[in-house]
């Protein structure tokens, strides 16, 4: 079963992060299992955020405007992502704006006045 799935997540990456967390598995199948589980998680997030995005685009559609939801570029935004992740138990909040300049907090030598 595991052999037929195209792994979007490289095995080395999964092994590296599993090793960092203390999970040593000499068996490759376990690594593939974790990779598959991660891939599933990723695809779930992506699909959920896509649904949110489509719902956002499709909501203000009016018959007069020729805005087709399919033609509009679907952009993954932080809002959609946070909504999708909230259902998975991850609270993600993106600040709307930054009150300071981009060089705030940097070293004085690199700051360009």
């Amino acid at each position: 079963m595991l052999g037929s799935v195209v792994r979007k997540i490289p095995d080395e990456l999964v092994e590296h992060y599993l090793g960092r967390s203390g999970f040593h598995c000499p068996d490759l199948r376990l690594t593939r299992l974790v990779a598959v589980a991660t891939q599933k998680f990723l695809s779930d997030i992506a699909s959920d955020s896509l649904q949110h995005c489509k719902a956002r685009v499709a909501a203000p559609i009016k018959d007069n405007k020729s805005k087709q939801p399919k033609d509009k570029r679907l952009v993954l935004t932080m809002d959609d992502l946070s909504k999708a992740l909230r259902e998975h138990g991850v609270n993600l909040k993106h600040p709307e704006y930054f009150a300071d300049s981009p060089s705030a907090g940097m070293a004085p030598s690199t700051r360009e006045e």
């Binding site: 799935v5 590296h16 967390s21 974790v34 990723l42 997030i45 992506a46 993954l76």
Partner: protein, 366 residues
Amino acid sequence: MSGTGGGGSGSSSGSGDEFGRAVARAAVAQALEAAGFDCAHRSAVDAVVDVLLRYITHLGRSAAFHANLAGRALANELDIIQALEEVGNDTDGFAGAAATGRCLVGSGVVRDLMAFVDSKDEVPFARPLPRFPVQRVQPQPSASPAAAAGREAGMRHVPEWLPAFPDPHTYVSTEMWVEPPATKGRVDKVEQVRQRRKAEKSLLSLQRRLAMAGADGFRPAVAVAQDSAEKGKEIQAAGTKRNPFLEPALPPGEKDVSEVDMPPEKKKLSVLEAFAPAIQARTIREVDAGAGLDQNQRSIVPKERAPVHLKLGFEKKPLAAALNSRALDLREDPSFLKEEAKDDKKRRAGMILRASMENPQELPQL
């Protein structure tokens, strides 16, 4: 992919593994594209990457925890399934979560996974995604040569991702440093020299003591207890008490004296010596004769032991003690010649006899 969010890779949790993050970012982008997105915000992609890596790490930690809970070091697939159940794919849970005492293999999570895998077959991506095999080097940057050697040396139970051990000489117990025999020989030699020096010093002090006791017969016992320096002072104090002529004996080579010509410190002894043969002869003699004899016999060297015959009288000088002590010293003193002393004794005895015969009535005592 347009990016309008602030802060490109604005996450502080992945400070060291930028390469893994880059690879994960590529995987996430692929997954998003497969899901149907045309573009995405860069910050959103980074957020997804961060969440994904945390998910993998959490899965690994939970699986390791379940394995350790069961008393195993290596994780099992059941551990992973348990971890997945614990994480929960959805907050809604999965099918069969309420039932306990069931086999994990048939759990809802596995079924979901299998369904996912089956659904994925529809979109076969022919992308050879293990395109970063170099990443295997990354988790073992500092452990490759030494750790490999250590692994083969008998520490195979240690996982490879742990850092390498320090050099074996830092923790391997070796024998104590054994003293080489050359050093021991030197120590023995030093010890020998020290003992020889001590013996020479004691012999020198003994000779000096005997010389002192010859000059001052009253304190041989006290002199024994002291070393040469203090004894010199002691003798000097005694000399000032009794007789200014009684000085500490000169060292043997300092003053050139002949055998017969003695320093004035011998004066008193000659007086005592003169009385000894007089007592021995049991004849009446005068004190003046003794004094006269004293001047004649000033050069007499007390060389041998004089036989002591004590006559209790009103002699003012403690003759007995002086004679006793002097006898002791003379016996110990090996440097004087015995034959010469005997000749002097005979001469002295004869002179005393003649003197006593000349003045028999001038001696009231004895």
